[in-house]
Symmetry: C2
Subunit: 206 residues, 2 copies
DNA sequence: CCATAATAGTGTCAGATACACACTTAAGGA
DNA sequence: TCCTTAAGTGTGTATCTGACACTATTATGG
């Protein structure tokens, strides 16, 4: 029966400059003011925790239509100096096309390279680490890579996404052989002009 | 700031009769009284969520020293008829040797075969499903199997655990080849009398 | 228009891994 | 001592993984 506050915090990933970036917001309010933190906020009375994550993201960053997955719940009693606050952490993936519309709201929001983050408020550094590990692991056996790309993309772009997440270069031929045997990857009769030889476009079906 | 209650619920697994079992408690209190439910309860003011799971388990079932891992947080507004209650679900693994001491406390606690569960209170059936899937997946790349066995065990016992979790028979020779190349599996110079040819004992080191 | 630069796209071999499959060994009990 | 029962053991085949280098196609610039 003990009442306590529940928040959501979201690690939003995107790819910029062929490297993995995380969206952070500069805190204005009191605890850790001036520090960067993950977008997030309190869960309201009549909304699911998932819905709270979606709502907070839209309010603070303008981001919509994203891939969202629950990560882990952090519940150490002292993790928030204001009192007992349990947070349900999520991570989200958005394609770089959405990136442009993002940094709208009140608080200063900005993208940071995932391996060059500033000191974060609360236990948010730990949350980001957890999210990166999860993302790296899911890359092998799911289609999360596609969520960081626009609907139509080239295999080189997809490879760059994988390399950004794994933090290491991949062999082009091995990558293509493996990824092409996923039935969800659909080749299109369309080519993207790249400045040099045009690249075939693909999309992620289903 | 919206205050709401946070509970923990734990799916406790063990192996009995060479098949996977889940610990359930018969509810006495009002919502869903008479129904079986997962052991669990409210998170207190000054304890971490993990600590709450450990405490509730000990109170309701007498179980100690277990493998405990957070599963997922369920936060639909209507999931508890009493009001807004968010629950952090865990799963736990205990060796059958601990089983005997377990069903001590007030409420009626009992083991059920994982594939023959009664109708459960709240959304607990969904939580059990989620836990079984997680357990099945972790079996391949972690040492969770060992947590369901006493400290010293035979390879046949370990194989039976894997078969119970996966729900399918495994080839004895392939199983042994794979499991023996894990460096954490340590053969002992001790044999367990089985009624027939004695079986070599192993333990899980580190 | 020709040369150059840059990225797209393609195949093979070797080592490792996954999977199917059947007999021998050792002890207890009749 | 014979029978029963579970323990323990090896091989061949198909598949997957990982290393590795050249050709094709287009845009640009001289």
């Amino acid at each position: 029966m003990t009442p306590c506050s529940v928040t959501v915090d979201v690690v939003v990933f995107t790819i910029l400059d062929r490297s993995l970036h995380v969206l952070l917001i500069k805190r204005l309010a009191k605890p850790y003011s001036g520090r960067f933190a993950l977008p997030g906020g309190f869960v309201l009375e009549n909304e699911s925790v998932d819905a709270a994550a979606i709502r907070e993201l839209r309010e603070e960053t303008g981001v919509r239509d994203l891939y969202l997955e629950q990560l882990y719940t952090f519940g150490e009693p002292k993790r928030d100096p204001r009192g007992r606050v349990i947070t349900v952490a999520y991570y989200a993936l958005i394609p770089p096309t959405q990136t442009l519309h993002s940094t709208t709201d009140a608080a200063e929001a900005a993208w940071f390279r995932a391996d060059e983050l500033p000191t974060l408020a609360f236990d948010h550094a730990q949350i980001v680490d957890y999210a990166r590990t999860r993302l790296r692991n899911k890359l092998a056996y799911t289609n999360v890579g596609f969520e960081l790309l626009p609907e139509r993309f080239t295999l080189s772009e997809l490879q760059a996404v994988h390399e950004a997440i794994l933090g290491e270069p991949l062999d082009k031929r091995n990558f293509r052989r493996q990824i092409l045997q996923r039935p969800t990857l659909q080749p299109l009769q369309a080519w993207k002009p790249t400045g040099r030889k045009p690249a075939q476009l693909f999309r992620f079906k289903e």
